[in-house]
Subunit: 389 residues, 2 copies
């Protein structure tokens, strides 16, 4: 927070200025300044580095900040913070985002580049996804009486192995915290609405041979040569584009890793091709694996990792209402999400979910990660419109 | 030496028993017992471990042993020992062998298994190549008046990178030590005569692409898929068999290593296939590389390592005399050497050279490395016959 600007810019138009929250008793962290504009707030969030595993200072700050608002019940599990209204509305929605980032690449503190419509905030986390977290925080504070009860979820460990994922942990240990009719995940979508997500799986294709000294190659059987046909099939493969609930999901199936051989004078007896299949959410993991096995018929294929996709669910009435409200502000049309995101966790809980957040996902994790300022405001406005209609 | 048997078996029939040598003054190493039979001597040599880089104790013992014989001039360079007669014969020949081994695999001390015609000596170095060194040492001591002057060479660092090779070092720093009309390298040939050797080269084929997140694979270009055609050509390649000076050299061309990709969620932008081409000695390195480039036309191929082969040279009169003398004892016919050996160093010095030694080369470096005892005797008898005729 020490690097954060101390100016007090305007809040989004039409919102009451929340009282500056005092630190909640017993919580040492300095609260975030929610009187700041979205750019300044995003910048402040980025400047509390929170690489996966080191989210505590930021989680403390979020807990301290939201704990000061009487309209919110604040819950904590590890470095995940949940804040929810309890207005007894007919419908409850979750708005969720992760607070961790991939490692900083000498791109902090965040900096503002350009002006007006061209202004961009540069730095680790601006896209993935502290811009979205800023929108969540500002709305959580501002919307004292939303038309739907809202559960604001800020969670840890999204950028690392799935078993550590904070949202998954809450689903296991406090499933009641996630009860809702609909969920919005503020992952970057460049301010557009992206429904569901493709599934993803990894499989290993192992070719075996017989080792021999390469001076007498004919005494061996070359396992790397055996990979030629596997790679040929993958290279020739034509991935599908699949319409699911009105959105077209583009699939892909690729060799992502290959390794074989032990030494430059030995005929290799083993070669492993790792395949990554991104499959439309209309296909189950079992169906997807069967498809890979069919393509690579005759070879030893072992499934090593898989996560089902999520259907866009835009045929759900709450989702449709969300889409209508959001698109009225942002324009455009719903699109499919290609990357696997935690919407699939909501989907597996039976909760329709969509991705909607500021920042171009193609810039996530890049050294030149940067988010247009207008997308922060656009997402804020769209969500606010939905939650106040 | 402490593990070596203390019995005093027969020397090969017909040889005078050399005096037990006393340690040469100033050399602390205990000399080897050259009164022992070949099996015992081989075993004693094996039981002085001499993994590449740790040859000093064995080199010291060889220097001390041969230094006691007045008919030999003993020279030393690093851990290489050279002992030579100076009888003014019309012809001089080199008989060479390396004294280092690959790492011990819990297969020392050496042990004798079986009896009579089935007796085998098991353990690291029995094949590659302390059996051959034992034959050299026994003959160096016994042949006080060979019909050709003999330069006995015992050298270090053969099993590691070529730049460390002791024979290469002598060729650079004391080329006069290697002056000869013909050379015999006592590398394992299972007691047969193997002429020349294939050349060998390594080349890297690099495929490039464009990295992208695998969730949007179409934004990238897959470098591993691009390797399919390279591997297809290698798998389909039909290697030649080439007659060189009457021996048929079998070639081979193989992918020996492959590596590509950076992570399971990234479209790989680089894949490297390492190729090993073993080529007949009638082909130069340049010609061999041109052949590989032709096969892999259209791809980026970089030569990373190469060593020319050696023609068998059996048309040389001294070589022909050697072959006649040896085959009269061993039977059989000359065969080509497939593995690259230091005969190629002699070849590059203009000295015809052949491989001739005890032990099956297919068992070299194996945990179950073992040498038939009869081959020790057969090689001894054949070389003795040649050098006393």
């Amino acid at each position: 927070m020490t690097d954060a600007p101390q100016t007090v810019p305007d809040l989004p138009a039409g919102e009451p200025v929340p009282a500056v929250p005092a630190p909640a008793s017993g919580v040492a962290a300095a609260p975030l300044d929610l009187r700041a504009d979205l750019t300044t707030l995003t910048r402040a969030l980025c400047d509390i580095p929170s690489v996966s595993g080191d989210e505590t200072p930021l989680a403390d700050a979020i807990e301290a900040t939201l704990g000061a608002f009487e309209h919110l019940e604040v819950l904590r599990d590890g470095d995940a913070v949940v804040a929810r209204t309890r207005l007894g509305r007919a419908s409850r929605v979750v708005v969720a985002g992760h607070i961790d980032t991939v490692p900083v690449a000498d791109n902090l503190p965040a900096r503002l580049v350009g002006e007006g419509a061209h202004a961009e905030l540069w730095g680790r986390g601006t896209v993935d996804m502290k811009g979205g977290v800023a929108v969540q925080l500002a709305l959580a504070a501002a919307l004292t009486e939303p038309t739907r009860d809202v559960t604001w979820v800020f969670y840890d460990h999204e950028e690392v192995e799935a078993s550590l994922n904070g949202l998954g942990r809450i689903a296991r240990e406090h499933p009641e915290w996630l009860e809702a009719d609909f969920a919005v995940l503020c992952e970057p979508t460049a301010g557009g609405l992206e429904g569901g997500c493709n599934g993803t799986m990894r499989a290993e294709v192992t070719l075996t041979g017989v080792a021999a000294h390469s001076a007498r190659a004919w005494a061996g059987v070359n396992a790397i040569h055996a990979a030629a046909e596997v790679l040929r099939r993958l290279a020739a493969y034509e991935p599908r584009s699949v319409d699911v609930d009105g959105l077209v999901y583009r699939e892909s199936l690729n060799a992502v890793l290959v390794g074989g051989g032990t030494a430059a004078n030995v005929i290799p007896d083993r070669c492993v091709v790792t395949v990554n299949y991104r499959f439309a959410p209309s296909r189950s993991v079992d169906e997807a694996f069967a498809h890979v096995r069919e393509l690579l018929d005759g070879y030893e294929v072992v499934l090593t990792d898989a996560a089902a996709g999520a259907r866009p669910g835009l045929d759900d009435p709450t989702a449709a209402a969300f889409a209508d409200a959001v698109l009225a502000v942002t324009g455009g049309a719903p699109a499919p999400k290609y990357g696997w995101t935690d919407v699939a966790r909501f989907s597996s809980l039976g909760i329709p979910a969509v991705n909607f957040g500021p920042g171009d996902p193609m810039l996530a994790h890049k050294d030149d990660e940067r988010c247009p300022v207008w997308q922060l405001q656009s997402c804020y406005d769209a969500l606010r419109s939905w939650l106040t209609a």
